[in-house]
């Protein structure tokens, strides 16, 4: 392996082999490239990403990450950690894969004793479509169609992550404006996903007005997506070396105004929400996830930040334009459902502020990069990884190309996959009816974790 392997993260990436995890370190991903196994480790104190060869000490969490990527299609996989629970009075409640509470194909085994949940075993891979296998041997442009359909609600994050890694491998020059437009899409995506999570929480608490109004706001953001990027879920706006949609100045102003209106209305809603004792009672002290567990089990995104972990890829692994704009790191020490919800609520605000800055200072050059003749002499030995803060947390993709410029290796580490065990841990000891609140506050998606 040559020295230039790695990712587009610049000085935030450190290449060194480590023996084991330090106190404030979190294992983020395990992947294979060019016949070697690597580990990506997030140092939450130094705010650095460490790329290391896989240490021989395989902890519980290492095993889970590996199992997730090796899973076969058609065979559901149980993500189990910790000891077994059995005895007189322990009842196993199967939930899913068809249920209305979780509108996706995926299940849980809930082990309960009376009302108490003793343990939860998430069952994933009911809908593994095999994106990583399917893209092999395809040109990156064609692979992009599959990548953005891995998880529809995180499609902007997925496609940006993939093209950034591939552009890095090919050494493509991407116009600044294209990168800024990608960031706009990612922030819009964050806003509509956070609104969805909040709306579902309100639904779970039977706060019908709050739920209806939040979902209406989300619909407005989806319509903005459609107007500016041509698709409600942002499919197809990214392309290799640039973006397919331009954002002229007057449309930037329009978008700023519209998003500001949405954010203002939402903050009005939140004010109501914070004065509704019925709502708050369901969230406070529900599904507590201590910082220690969050770190050890690999929690990412708002779930980790709700437990006080200071990690946000936009700040700790900044790609252009996030080095230049102001993003507030939203954390809460509580670790309960309320803390995670407040992180999301405040991230909607901070995304709005970031969007305003992105749209105000949008650079003026073109949106399409020069991709002529990029297939020749690609670095086949090297790999590139990229990290993007998707709405549910840190998304990692590792890509490799062959000599014809086709994808020869792709490994996706979705945010939802590593958040299942933190969800399971947080629910231990809670009552059965808290399940929905915990699930929605983590914002997990089976499509994301199964891909």
């Amino acid at each position: 392996m040559s020295g230039e392997s790695g990712g587009p993260g610049g000085s935030r990436v450190e290449r060194r082999n480590i023996e084991g995890l330090g106190e404030n370190m979190q294992l983020s991903s395990v992947f294979q490239a060019s016949g070697l196994a690597y580990a990506l480790i997030s140092d939450t104190e130094a705010n650095k990403t460490i790329l290391s060869e896989l240490p021989p000490t395989l902890g519980e969490e290492f095993g889970l990450l590996l199992r997730g990527s090796d899973a076969k299609t058609g065979i559901p996989l149980e993500l189990e950690a910790g000891g077994t629970v059995e005895g007189y009075g322990v009842f196993e409640f199967p939930y899913g894969p068809v249920s209305s509470g979780v509108p996706e194909a995926g299940g849980f085994r809930l082990l309960t004793y009376g009302e108490r949940i003793l343990k939860i075993i998430p069952q994933v891979n009911f809908k593994k479509r095999g994106v990583e296998q399917r893209v092999l041997g395809r040109k990156p442009e064609d692979a992009l169609l599959l990548i953005e359909r891995s998880a529809g609600n995180f499609s902007a994050s997925y496609s940006t992550c993939f093209v950034t890694a591939v552009e890095n491998l090919l050494g493509l020059e991407v116009p600044s404006k294209a990168k800024w437009i990608r960031a706009v899409a990612i922030e819009l995506e964050r806003i509509h996903n956070h609104l969805y999570a909040f709306g579902r929480l309100a639904e779970a608490a039977s706060q019908n007005v709050a739920a209806a109004q939040t979902h209406a706001l989300r619909e407005r953001v989806l319509r903005l997506n459609s107007k500016q990027f041509g698709h409600r879920y942002l499919f197809g706006f990214n392309s290799l070396g640039g973006v397919r949609r331009d954002l002229p100045k007057e449309e930037c102003n329009n978008l700023t105004n519209e998003i500001r209106l949405v954010a203002r209305e939402f903050s009005g809603l939140v004010e109501y929400f914070l004065s509704s004792r019925i709502f708050l009672d369901r969230l406070q002290a529900t599904a507590k996830l201590p910082r220690r567990d969050a770190l050890a089990l690999g929690a990412v995104g708002p779930s980790a930040r709700g437990s006080g972990i200071q990690w946000d890829d936009r700040l700790t692994y900044p790609l252009e334009p996030y080095e230049d704009i102001y993003v507030n790191l939203e954390t809460e020490p509580g670790g309960d459902t309320m803390a995670r919800t407040m992180v999301r609520v405040r991230e909607i605000e901070s995304s709005t502020i970031a969007l305003r800055e992105l749209l105000d200072r949008m650079p003026g050059d073109g949106t399409e990069g020069n991709t002529e003749g990029h297939g020749v002499g690609g670095r086949t030995e090297d790999f590139a990884f990229c990290r993007i803060e998707s709405p549910s947390g840190d998304l990692i993709q590792v890509a490799q190309l062959d000599s014809q410029g086709r994808v020869s290796n792709l490994q996706i580490r979705p945010a939802s996959l590593v958040n299942w065990l933190p969800l399971a841990r947080s629910l231990e000891g809670n009552v059965f009816t808290d399940f929905q609140f915990a699930f929605e506050s983590f914002g997990l998606s089976f499509a994301d974790s199964d891909r």
């Binding site: 299609t73 593994k128 479509r129 529809g152 509704s276």
Partner: protein, 242 residues
């Protein structure tokens, strides 16, 4: 001021679409929900070669909407009109082997249930969007139910996964007669972009009888609503293109 949710709800006014009494607005039926229309000078052979899902059939000179993922690569290749050009609204359609619409038995009420057999979550969210104030499904007497035992119509989304094939069959079998199956999205109708992938068994129509197809990737909520009304026999005949 006391914070009363009901007052807040009333203050907001009416957001709901006029559909099905009025035509859907361009906002409700955005450009990317419109099918590609070949230009008069379109080169069908080149179009077929460039289409990632094989939706463009040069032999019959038609575009198979059930396979189309609306990626619009054919527009940028010059085969089809650019989006936003006037192409007319897209219709959900009845399948060849559809059953009698079930309006007679249930009157105007319809209880629906959604099953995901391997989607990317976009179709799921669009189906769930039907309950938001912009589309407000319940004004039409249609409501979501939690159990297949209570459902009249089953909405199927996603590319049928080997792990879900049996689950889909059992869900279908536990629904009471008469029943209706609506496959939503390119993945459910034909496999879409996932045709040939490891995690795709067959179109939903091969596993259970399907009555209505709603093409799109994902179809917008208005189109899904159209499919529901079509299956319930609440749209006029001339709207229901076979």
């Amino acid at each position: 001021m006391p914070k009363i949710w009901v007052v807040r709800g009333l203050k907001k006014g009416v957001l709901t679409t006029g559909y099905p009494n009025a035509k859907p607005t361009p906002e409700e039926l955005p450009g990317r929900s419109q099918p590609p229309m070949p230009t008069p000078k379109a080169d069908w052979t080149a179009g077929e070669k460039g289409c990632p899902t094989g939706a463009i059939r040069s032999g019959e000179k038609k575009i198979d909407l059930g396979s189309c993922i609306y990626c619009r690569l054919c527009s940028s290749a010059g085969f089809a009109f650019e989006e936003g050009d006037e192409v007319g609204a897209l219709k959900a359609s009845l399948t060849a082997g559809h059953r009698e619409p079930i309006k007679q038995i249930f009157g105007r009420s319809l209880h629906i249930m959604m099953i995901d057999v391997g989607s990317c979550n976009a179709c799921n969210l669009e189906v769930l969007s039907l309950t938001n104030p912009y589309y407000d499904l319940s004004r039409l007497g249609i409501s979501f139910t939690n159990s297949p035992k209570h459902a009249d119509a089953l909405i199927v989304v996603g590319a049928l996964n080997p792990a879900m094939a049996d689950v889909l069959k059992r869900t279908y079998e536990s629904m009471p007669e008469p029943k209706l199956v609506i496959s939503v999205g390119a993945c459910a109708i034909s496999g879409g972009i996932f045709r040939g992938a490891e995690g795709f068994v067959s179109p939903v129509g091969d596993a259970v009888p399907v009555d209505v197809m709603v093409p799109g990737c994902p179809p917008s909520p208005v189109q899904i609503l159209e499919g529901l009304l079509l299956g319930a026999g609440r749209l006029k005949k001339e709207d229901a293109r076979p």
